[in-house]
């Protein structure tokens, strides 16, 4: 049965009909419809099931506050659960499915829980499921979880993409109702740059529906002309479909813009997350109507009075043929009049106030409506929807005095300013007794970086519910926001627009209908529709001592659903205050947190997905590695070749081949990721002596020295070769991961501690690629490239460096070795590195030259007993632990870490120290294994006396080799330790010298 009215619907375009489906059923609506209005128009009342009791649910609201009509939209890569039908714009082909039922929306098995609801009050699960103990994990929890959740999880990769957008702006106005428009105008007239955003597709907010007159025009006309004048101002920007999502400290605001949800188009970003740095923020977010608490208020057909009006006026849809209005204020009479005007039946207007004397009530009476003051609703007739209303006196315990046939209840409990965004960054509220709502307290605003107010509120968001006062407050807010910028732009805002409303009779707060409703009714009076929290639940919480509003929230889950209590919170805390006998302002609200409306995770991640998830740092030789089958290993943001398996070869075999080829011939390594820092100045020597544990000031130009760096806390943090370039210039190499960190730490010391020292540092890591050439034939290979300098044994001795050209590329050659072989590291300008690499490959082909990866590098260094930062060290290891005493200068008064290393525990003779480990059976010790000691400690844990830090199969020795830290290790050579292995026999290993290969270092000196 179509509920579409023959005429009306200011937002729909009847000339554009759109097909969509709901639970597989084909339906039609119009362009401009929301999914909710289109479903209502198709006569669909039942929209879903509630969270806990699977109660049948229909639409309550017409905006993002909707708790019930949540849908699964789309399919596969565009599937989205929990989409609000009320904010989902209709498009051709939209697919929607209702949620939280099985097997079907109409016949839901889970609805049993509704019948058991008296056994399932708030918090029942804290009191039950206790025995038998094992049942919790295996029976109870699985059962609870089965009923958990609302929508289905999306299972496919999202086919859409998202982006971010950063702006700085003087004034951001959130909310494009008449107040937002007025505030934006005032701020813009003052000369400020203004961004005005509105979450809906249309401007104007409530006023066009509510029918205010402004400056002598209809609301719609005024909105049109104001929009026009705003658009003509060069300092104003405007966006619809953009929600003010979160206000963060220092005026940082997130906006969530939906670009294609209303017209799917996958080549365009689906959402855009705006990061706004705003000088001032104006909240013109309007107000949200409150439901009333009466028995059966959750039946499909019970709606907010304003929503009923919205569906009629905006979409030309009749939520009901015969509506009962239940109200405690004048505003709902507008709904009555609107319905009447649209030719729809209004069975009665039940006004909980003893008298209904305002002009709107009079107009309703004049229109022949049945206005019944002092009345409320005792109950709802009907199961899956409203069939009738039982009327009672408000001031009673619910004795039914009448039953009215009705298919819709339009309820209004008054309006609560939408203060969420005001509160996000610390703005406080105060209670207004007259209007019975919390409104922003201008004396306690959220403050910005200067400690001054960073927000203003405008219009009904400020509590100025009626158009006249709303516009005044909005204009003032806009002026203030413009002014607060300090730098007056020499312009002045015009006058405030004048709004006129009908006079109003004051509302009368009503938190329960009827006032003396007995338990049975209170247990059926819903506060939080989605989470099934009823009046009786809040009362129970209070009775059980969950008196703090925060306890009550968490005990009952009030306000924790996807609408975050936009409808339920105030009603809930009013009930709590009643139960506690404390005034509402003392009870207070729970904390408002971002986002205002849930934000898509994809939008938060923005562009950072897939290839752009994180930067991949590439060396100048990266492409070659890629083309030659590199097996990658992430190292920081770099990707380094772990090994180069050739066709059919396992990674393990590749490593073995690379090691053997290097040891017997020559290997080639891309070492470009090593950090390279130039340190220069009259105080550079002194500075490096502080940074390194070694003495760097005594290094001769032309020479290199292996250096260690400790943190001020004494632990080894980095190592690398330092070369002295000239009298006052050093080049410090760091680990691949260490370059930026060590550079930053050098700057930190120079800028914050020794700022009078004359030292400059430059990070030239990326200027130079570094290529390692290692192996007995290394020199032969380099000589093939016609070096411009002498690379002979004497001319370029071990631990020396020289400049020159190699294969026509300008290079610096360091004779250093991490593999233990004759080895050169060649630094070349990054732009020419690939050419050099190619030339080396070519020249090396006859020599059997083999590129090797990081794992071969690691194996070779382990064979030599060289430590590796991150393997032998883990932030708790000192150079002394590693037997590196030779690299710790005794002659220096001070260096970073020196004082720390003097502390009691650091000099403990029982510290674990570095040794080699050799399994008795030649096997490879497991990574990270611990050596056990006798007995257990005070906490019953097995005692240990050492652990493996690096362990490899050594191709050179064809057996397992390892290094480890062992209690008094170096003093215990030859002793045998036992390393238990998970699920296996313990492995026994002997303590040996950690240098397994060429202990005398003859090869590197070749």
């Amino acid at each position: 049965m179509s509920r579409r009215l023959p005429k009306g619907g200011r937002l729909i375009d009847r000339s554009k009909s759109l097909g969509f489906s709901f639970n597989g059923k084909e339906m039609r609506g119009y362009a401009g419809d929301t999914l909710a209005s289109a479903l209502l128009a198709e006569g669909q009342v039942l929209m879903g099931r509630s969270f806990k009791h699977h109660r049948p649910r229909g639409i309550v609201a017409s905006g993002p506050e909707e708790p019930n009509a949540l849908m699964g939209l789309g399919r596969d890569g565009t599937f989205e659960p929990n989409a609000r039908a009320t904010t989902t714009e209709l498009f051709q082909g939209l697919e929607a499915r209702s949620q939280n039922h099985w097997p079907s929306l109409e016949n839901d098995f889970g609805a049993i829980s509704s019948m058991l609801s008296r056994f399932l009050p708030s918090g029942f699960y804290y009191k039950t499921f206790l025995w038998p103990r094992a049942f919790w994990k295996h029976v109870y929890e699985p059962a609870i979880r089965l009923s958990a959740g609302l929508g289905k999880p999306p299972m496919r990769r999202d086919t859409d993409h998202y982006e971010h957008f950063n702006i700085t702006i003087d004034v951001l106005v959130i909310g494009g109702g008449i107040s937002g428009l007025a505030a934006a105008s005032a701020a813009a007239e003052s000369g400020a740059d203004v961004l005005l955003v509105e979450q809906d597709p249309a401007w104007g907010g409530r006023a066009p529906v509510d029918g205010a007159r402004i400056d002598g025009m209809s609301a719609e006309e005024w909105i049109g002309s104001t929009l026009q004048s705003l658009q003509s101002m060069p300092n104003v920007r405007m966006r619809t479909r953009t929600t003010g999502s979160g206000i963060h400290d220092h005026g940082y605001v997130l906006l969530h813009e939906r670009l294609t949800d209303h017209a799917p188009e996958h080549s365009v970003p689906r959402h855009r997350l705006w990061k706004v740095r705003a000088g001032q923020v104006v909240a013109a977010t309007g107000a949200i109507e409150r439901p009333l608490s009466f028995a059966g208020n959750d039946r499909p057909g019970c709606m907010l009075a304003s929503a009923v009006r919205d569906y009629v006026v905006n979409y030309g849809v009749a939520p009901g043929e015969r509506t009962v209005i239940l109200t405690n204020n004048d505003d709902a009479y507008r709904t009555a009049l609107t319905l009447r005007e649209a030719g729809l039946g209004v069975s009665a207007v039940l006004d909980t106030r003893q008298q209904a004397t305002g002009p709107l009530a009079a107009a309703a009476r004049d229109a022949g409506l049945n206005v019944r003051p002092g009345c409320g609703i005792a109950g709802i007739v009907g199961r899956n929807r409203v069939d009738g209303v039982q009327v009672c006196r408000q001031d009673s315990d619910g004795e039914v005095i009448d039953v009215i046939q009705a298919d819709c209840v339009a309820m209004s409990g008054g309006w609560s300013p939408a203060t969420h965004v005001w509160c996000h960054a610390g703005g406080k509220l105060s209670w207004n007794d007259e209007a019975a709502h919390f409104a922003p307290d201008p004396a306690r605003p959220p403050t910005g970086v200067d400690g001054m107010a960073m927000m203003q509120v405008a219009g009904s968001a400020s509590g100025a519910i009626h158009s006249g006062t709303a516009l005044e407050s909005a204009h003032a807010a806009g002026v203030l926001a413009g002014k607060a910028l300090g730098e007056s732009r020499g312009r002045k805002a015009g006058r405030a627009p004048a709004g006129e409303d009908e006079g109003h009779q004051p509302m009368e707060p009503v938190w329960l209908v009827p006032a003396r409703a007995p338990y049975a009714k209170r247990a059926k009076s819903w506060l939080d529709f989605q989470n099934d929290v009823k009046v009786s639940d809040i009362e129970l919480a209070a009775r059980e001592g969950y008196e703090s509003v925060e306890h009550a929230k968490r005990y009952t889950t009030l306000g924790m659903a996807t609408d975050q209590g936009k409808l339920s919170n105030i009603n809930g805390l009013a009930i709590l205050s009643r139960e506690l006998g404390a005034p509402i302002e003392e009870v207070g609200t729970t904390t408002f947190r971002p986002p205002y409306v849930p934000v898509t995770m994809g939008a938060i991640a923005g562009e950072a997905r897939g290839e752009l998830f994180q930067p991949v740092r590439k060396t100048p030789i990266h492409e070659w590695h890629e083309a030659n089958g590199a097996h990658w290993e992430p190292v920081g943001h770099w990707r380094r070749p772990y090994a180069f398996p050739v066709q059919g070869e396992s990674v393990h075999d590749a490593v073995k081949r690379e090691v053997l080829a290097t040891r017997s011939g020559v290997g080639l390594l891309d070492a470009s990721t090593l950090g390279k820092l130039v340190v220069k100045g009259p105080d550079a020597a002194r500075f490096l002596d502080m940074l390194y544990t070694n003495m760097m000031s005594t290094l001769k130009p032309g020479k290199c020295r292996y250096g260690l760096m400790c943190s001020e806390n004494g632990f080894l943090v980095d190592d690398g070769v330092v070369a002295r370039l000239d009298g006052d210039t050093w080049l410090c190499h760091t680990t691949s991961g260490g370059a930026d960190r060590i550079h930053a730490s050098m700057e930190e010391w120079l800028q914050t501690e020794w700022w009078d020292w004359k030292v400059y540092v430059a990070n030239v890591t990326e200027q130079f690629a570094q290529i390692g050439v290692a192996g007995p034939r290394a020199r032969d290979l380099l000589n093939e490239l016609g070096p411009s300098m002498d690379l002979g044994r004497e001319a370029l001795s071990f631990m020396a460096w020289t400049d020159g050209a190699l294969g026509n590329v300008p290079v610096r050659v360091f004779r250093i070795s991490f593999s233990g072989e004759l080895s050169f590291e060649i630094a070349a300008p990054a732009g020419q590195a690939r050419a050099l690499w190619d030339r080396l490959l070519e020249a090396g082909r006859p020599l059997g030259m083999t590129p090797y990866g990081t794992e071969a590098l690691h194996v070779m260094r382990a064979e030599k007993g060289f430590i590796m930062i991150g393997d032998e060290t883990d932030g708790t290891v000192t150079p002394q632990d590693l037997g590196l005493h030779w690299a710790i200068s005794k002659r220096k008064d001070d260096f970073l870490g020196k004082r720390a290393q003097e502390r009691e525990h650091m000099t403990d003779p029982l510290r674990w120290r570095l040794v080699g480990l050799e399994t008795l059976d030649g096997s490879v010790l497991p990574d990270g294994a611990y050596a056990t000691d006798e007995g257990v400690n005070a906490n019953g844990q097995q005692k240990t006396q050492g652990r493996v830090t690096s362990t490899y199969y050594s191709p050179t020795l064809d057996r397992g080799i390892a290094m480890g830290l062992v209690e008094r290790g170096p003093d215990r050579m030859g002793e045998i330790l036992e390393f238990p292995v998970i699920d296996g026999e313990p492995v026994r290993a002997r303590i040996v010298n950690p240098v397994f290969h060429d202990p005398d270092g003859e090869k590197q000196n070749a």
Partner: protein, 189 residues
């Protein structure tokens, strides 16, 4: 230097903004106390114009960017970088300074587009205030581009130059290309 190549080797991408590898560029890092009169005299004496705080003089090929109170980036032709390093070193003589050729350490992009579209593409990735009056031609901004450091300036209203580290050139190129995809214009500035 015939062997030299830029990390993106001439790549370009046309969306609503065109992103192009700006090619080989001479870049020299100079660290010295820019506020010291002797440093300023030495540099101007050798023919270098000094930009004020946050500014640039000249542009790619010849110019200088203000990087910090004690750091400039001197721009010159790629082939002249070594010679310029020598000139600078000579001019500064015994003064406390550090000069290094970093022409190969960075990637340089040219971004061109109609109206304020270039600002828009950058605003998708950088937190910098990109309003015209906050970053007019003649000023340079060092900032963050998504997850990496970058610097950029506007040559004119429709053109910007962006510099980032060499190793992340591919990442930055992909970021910019994505941000400039037709259909994702924002229309804000």
């Amino acid at each position: 230097m015939p062997d030299s190549f830029t990390p993106l080797d001439g790549a370009s991408c046309s969306g609503f903004v065109t992103i192009k590898d700006a090619g080989l560029t001479g870049m020299i890092l100079l660290r010295a106390d820019l506020g010291a009169a002797d440093v300023a005299a030495a540099l101007t004496g050798a023919g270098f114009d000094l930009p004020g705080s946050g500014e640039l003089v000249g542009g790619l090929g010849q110019g200088a960017l203000w990087m910090s109170p004690d750091e400039l980036m001197i721009l010159c032709a790629y082939d002249e970088a070594e010679a310029t390093v020598a000139t600078l070193a000579e001019a500064l003589g015994e003064l406390h300074a550090l000069v290094a050729n970093v022409s190969d350490a960075r990637a340089v992009f040219r971004l061109t587009g109609e109206g304020a579209t270039v600002r828009e593409v950058l605003a998708k990735l950088s937190p910098a205030d990109l309003r015209q009056n906050a970053l007019p031609p003649g000023r340079v901004r060092r900032t963050r581009l998504a997850q990496v450091p970058a610097a950029f300036w506007f040559g004119g209203e429709h053109e910007a130059v962006l510099i980032c580290f060499r190793s992340v050139a591919g990442y930055v190129f992909d970021l910019l290309s994505k941000a400039a995809e037709p259909g994702s214009e924002v229309g804000h500035f």
